[in-house]
Amino acid sequence: MKRYTHLIGFAVLVAAVVVAPFISSNYRSYQLGFVAIYLIALCGLDILTGFTGQISLGHGAFMGIGAYTTTILVVDHGWRDLWTIPVAGLVAGLIGVAFGLPATRFAGPYLALATFAIPLSLIGILKRYPHFTGGNVGKNLPQLHSEFGWHTNPSIWFYVVTWAVALVMFPLAYLIVRGRFGRALRAVRDSEIAATANGVSTASVKTAAFGISAFFCGVAGALYAIGITYVNPDTFPIDLSILLIVGIVVGGAGSLWGMVFGALFVEFIRISWGPGILDLFSKVHHIDTHAPGSGLVVYGVVLLLVLYVAPAGFAGLVHRLLTGRSAVAAWAKPRPPTPTDPATGAEGP
């Protein structure tokens, strides 16, 4: 029954993905391509943060590693961009495992702080080896163009590629978090002591989750580079890592379906809704909507509103609307707090 409902949900998502480009402008399709990219990254981070309870403030850097892998292979080694996507994922995943080995010995805020070092050091490393990475000036990739003998608008091509990958990665994330391994992840999240007592090696589970999440972010980063057609250190600021965490929280940590909303939020709040809301304001009040940082104020206010209305993210809000019960109370059984407790513990999909 459970698997059946997920199949229906997935079929509806696939149908929406197929229909969207026919009713959207090309620019919207281009934006929705970035939604697919964020969906992949958020699913990866959700496996680590939502399901395993390990907060990372550094996963934007794994997107950066994936993006640079793609860029260097395409620009300097003449690879076809699509073939670099799995390589980018593997490189990011391996670095994720390497980082996860020592880092997952930390718990809670200490881990978060350790992961914060990843984007910081990535920016330094990228600038340190300009002959390899292009330094501060970065590298331009080829412009978007349709391939395989299909002639269509570059934005549509980008949409098709990103969602084709996302619709593979999304079920993959589902397969990872269900079953034996998924239970191990949740056991580590809910109580490390209980997990260890039941024979779960918390260190290796956490390291594996770190590697898997980095792999997802690496794949997302490869598509990001293909879509932006340019990389430099400024393209992967610390904000990006924070943005991914915001996406998880807004979507609903511990729910993969919630990540669809998280991805929509992350893409549209900054580029479309923020400026749109500001324009509305400027028509009503004669305030300076272009003052430095005013876009961030809208972003912050919307974020606060979302968290007030839906403390367990969109996934929790939908659940509450349907059942009339608080999402946190219904989804997560009350349990004694442990050092690795995330703010919202939600059951798997």
Binding site: I8, L13, K127, V231
Partner: protein, 417 residues
Amino acid sequence: MKKTFLLIAMALAASTVIVMTAGATSKATPGVTAKSILLEGTYPLSGPASGYAPIPVGMGAYFSYVNAHGGVNGRKINWHYEDDGYNPANTVQITHKFVEQDHAFALVGGLGTEPQLAVRQYLNDNKVPQLFVATGATTFDRDYASNPWTIGWQPDYEAEGSIYGKYVVKNLASAKLGVLYQNDDYGNDYLRGLKAGLGESHQSMIVSAQPYDLSATTPPAVQVAKLKASGADTFVILATPTPTIQSYVIATKLGWHPAHVITNSVSATDAFLTIAEKSGSDNVEGTLSVGYTLDPANPIYNKLPGMKLYRTIMAKYAPKANANDGLNLYGVAKAWNVVKLLQSLGTSPTRAGLMAAARKMAFTPGKKNANPFLLPGVSTFTKGSFQYPISQVTIIQYQNHTFQPQGSLIAGRGALR
């Protein structure tokens, strides 16, 4: 069973959001209607480079002024700009929006070397003017042949470097130069220009040139110490603002008092030098740099018609802005050139026509149509293979918290016009 509903509801809601975000359709003439012309640009209104935020405000003030006086050939200029936070990933997405959804006539004054590099190929592929980018990276002017839809505006870093070289040969003939430069395209553009300006026979005047990495977490203390040890008596700083301020302070702490300090114009502003002074440097006074616009912080320009017009425009159309901030004036001066180009296009402007006009500008003192917001005598001139709109500057010297112009104009490229 409830979970079934939950999941289906979420998937449906997701598809609804996607449908709701579906956008508009395209128009026949991009950005030009019977009554308006749409110009757009990306600027860092947040993030590390948000100090440049006054520039689009100044541009908007000038466009409002033009609109209030009948617009351009009967059309009002519709000026719209958005925050990219100096992140090229944002610049690319917003630029796609400007081109594919807003259908801007042209992108004007986009700020930052890297953000503008990120969208250059896209704009050229789509034949959308990337007019007067706000960066001095030489590539935006030099590589016009491969990027026919892109053009810079301000003096390029290479030309500025060459002006320091020429100035040193002429005025500081016995100087021994110690050069600190950023180890990337930015610093190398400047250094290449400096050597070209010195010329083959005078390159030995550089007794030491020390690169530093922008990624370095420590100030360039070792480099400054090496420059001091080299016996240099003239400190040439070709750096971005933060390392520049640090260099001033380090030199003082090392007890190095070079006879002259030359600082590139990007870092030599009143604000940055004041910080260096307050941080304990005693080498700030007398710093040499270059200028090409009027300086609203310096009262000696107040009698010029350009400065009077600038203050009138700012008071009426951007009353909340700090009119003494030279970045507003930079915006106004650039907008003046944009309007002149649009006026020359007549009643049916095209993108190709705009670029053709930008490639053949002659706003010169000789023709009595020079940009009034630039220093007297500075022309905006392009022709044939000469695609460096502003290439003349004057040497300025920091005295008592303002920059004073020193002597006449110098041509960084070509001849004075």
